[in-house]
Symmetry: C2
Subunit: 438 residues, 2 copies
């Protein structure tokens, strides 16, 4: 059998320790699958003495991750430090420059410096693998990079953040408010103390940037993505969605349009019978729409030590087997620059919830404004809080008006709603959620 | 750019024609992804003159597929003839012997002669790719062969036959009988004139044999699989499943047990909230349970010209990129022989539906027999056709008794039911459907 692949791992948190354990447990199977053994020979982490539940005796300790990255005793470098800056960036750069293949789970690093690192990997002819950086254990990077190589993909979209999906699931099932749910999620460890990176959509955007690049050959650029989080979602929206045959999911969507590749992250109405709508709790999922065939959906765990580690080990196995693909699926020089999607030109259906002043003619005013902007309504529901007391319609508190539009442009919807607000027939700001058809 | 990969295709049915079209349409993207162009240069099929909607002028015609397989003008051979025998088998064998990588969508050929062909491919150091042979466009072969290389998989199961799932879906939704539904499926082209290969589970078994080999390293052998089709499923079963929180799916299941790898195909109760239960119509799906992580499920089109062609083109792209994996994930000599799963030792929950003689003590008799075989009941429902007329319980026609057991062995269930039959408290044979927990 060929000589073993000697691996160095920088970063021994939950994921790093799981990688060490998995490679040791799967030693035999990995050797069979790769045609050569895979061995972790050296590690680097912040504190040496910490008990990680793994046998450290056989692992050479290298205090400085940058030293480990270029260590002549390793054949491949695994970066599990995290963060877009140093030492992660410097270590990955050093490893690639030294001609060592790299595996990383670091979405922030790839989203920010992916092109630069891919260029380096290409120049040195080594692999830069990052299956774990988007959707955890789901083999979506490999699927987009290699598995659907022959397809013309029109759209890729997914649930890429477990925290948000967990919260939306509990809000829907238990009719909890966003704030209550967030507290619960924090208490149970499903949300960070500072949850803004997750709930405001930025985590999803980083992962989407990677998937969009693999799918459409655009340069990774989270700055090109329109981002909207889930903080404005209320139980009223979730109930309305349910009644209308939808669920609300925070989606990352990248889609081919006449204006180029539109990339966006926002709460989305998805039809209840779609595969993506079935995905509950912390689970992730990605759907790929390719020309001429029914959608392909991959569902699985998006985070967690073992889930992430399993993707990392698959990446290492590819290196052991000598497989090397262009990091983003095509030569770096052939990646195209994607401009930020002009959301005004986004086309699709919309869910709109407003609090209408309860007086005669309100519905007619709203309908007129929509018609003036060529927006067709699929449905409109106006809910009075109770039956009018005296038989005749009379002014009382504001009542919710919920409507679903047929496909239109964001620009038209925004303008129509601005007009409705100027008409003073609604109170407060309307809620607007985009609909994604399957 | 490197020299093009020259491809020869034998078999120009719907799939073959779609492959030619896809490669031509995706020429640029494929070249970028593979680092070299991919070109179909020669074809072979039964009738030369037939209009296939593709431009045949640039394609060299080779009447004999065996000649094409060893044609010095091609770098890779694509077999889309079908069938386990010749000319498909002879052509693939000839190509591999000539040192040419092969792509095939032929599950029957692989199920029957997979080991022999894999051995040849290994000997000559060339690829034998067959993504399209199981679950169509779903990249499950690649996922099992490469994507989950680091995982210890405990179980793989899936909906692998679109005809059966289409029929079960319509039976459930429209309360159609099996016979009505089959006629409808035949009329619409979702079932063959002779549907037995599909509805009796043999198509699923061939695909399962391939997936089990990739997952567990057992030698491909449909003969090692317990096979039961869907012909005994009634609307009564589907309704009972619905009320009990399940759906009925024809699953192919391969699972690691203490007795070795158990491989089985049978109608199955799956929990309604499982990803697999959401899969309706002709769609296929495969779930992989790996140690320590939540299940991963891949959902997508399992058949159809374009879906199959897309998997074939992905396989061709891997060859163009120079990727070669052991056909069944590990060296052929390391594949283990799997004995036929002894179903008596199968462990799991069961759904049992019987027609009980409507007289006092029947439920007690059934309960006693189950208890004698150490079977615990999760639920038992006895349905009288109407309220007893005179207030007192009295003998009338048989009434359905539906019960769900906790995990037990097939042996115990069979023996308990035989005893119940000997007690003459039920009429006809009991219906027995295995439950697969997620």
């Amino acid at each position: 059998m060929a000589s073993p692949l000697k691996v160095g791992i920088a970063g021994l948190g939950t994921v790093g320790a799981s990688v060490v354990r998995l490679i040791s447990e799967q030693r035999q199977a990995l050797a069979l699958r790769c045609g050569r053994p895979v061995e972790v020979v050296a590690v680097s982490a912040r504190s040496r003495g910490k008990d990680r539940g793994i046998d450290m005796r056989k692992l050479r300790w290298v205090a400085d991750p940058l030293k480990l990255a270029t260590d002549p005793g390793i054949d491949a470098f695994v970066e599990l430090i995290g963060g877009e800056g140093n030492p992660a960036r410097a270590a990955v750069t050093a490893a690639l420059k030294a001609g060592k293949p790299v595996v990383t789970a670091n979405k922030a690093l790839l989203a920010r410096h992916g092109i630069e690192l891919a260029t380096l990997a290409e120049k040195r002819g080594v692999a830069l693998n990052f299956e774990a950086a988007a959707a955890g254990a789901i083999p979506i990077v490999k699927t987009l990079r290699e598995g659907l190589a022959g397809n013309s993909v029109q759209r890729v979209y997914g649930i890429l953040n477990g925290t948000c999906n967990y919260m939306l699931t509990r809000m829907e099932r238990e009719k909890l408010s966003f704030e209550e749910c967030l507290k619960e999620a924090q208490r149970l460890g499903y949300a960070e103390a500072d949850p803004s990176f997750d709930i405001e959509g930025h985590d999803t955007a980083q992962k989407l940037a990677i998937l969009a690049s693999l799918t459409f050959g655009v340069r990774v650029d989270p700055g090109a993505i329109y981002v909207e989080g889930i903080t404005s979602i209320t139980t009223a929206d979730l109930e309305a969605a349910d009644q209308l045959g939808y669920r609300i999911k925070l989606l990352g969507v990248a889609v081919k349009t006449e204006q180029g590749i539109e990339q966006r992250v926002h709460p989305t109405f998805v039809p209840k019978d779609s595969a993506i709508a079935q995905v509950m709790g912390v689970t992730n999922a990605v759907t790929v729409d390719a020309e001429g065939i029914a959608p392909i959906t991959l569902v699985g765990p998006g985070a967690g030590g073992m889930a992430t580690a399993s993707a990392v080990v698959a990446d290492i196995a590819d290196i052991a087997r000598g497989v090397r693909a262009a990091p983003f699926g095509r030569p770096q020089g052939k990646l195209i620059v994607s401009k930020k999607a002009p959301m005004q030109r986004h086309e699709g259906g919309y869910y709109i919830r407003m609090l209408a002043v309860d007086k005669p003619g309100t519905a007619a005013t709203i309908a007129k404004r929509l018609a003036q902007h060529n927006i067709s309504m699929e449905s409109i529901v106006q809910r009075h809080s109770g039956p009018p007391a005296g038989g005749a319609e009379k002014a009382s508190g504001p009542v919710p008006v919920i409507l679903i539009t047929y496909a239109t442009t964001e620009d038209a919807v925004r303008k129509a709603l601005a007009a409705v607000q100027r008409d003073r027939v609604i109170s407060g700001r309307p809620q607007l959620i985009r609909i994604e058809k399957n």
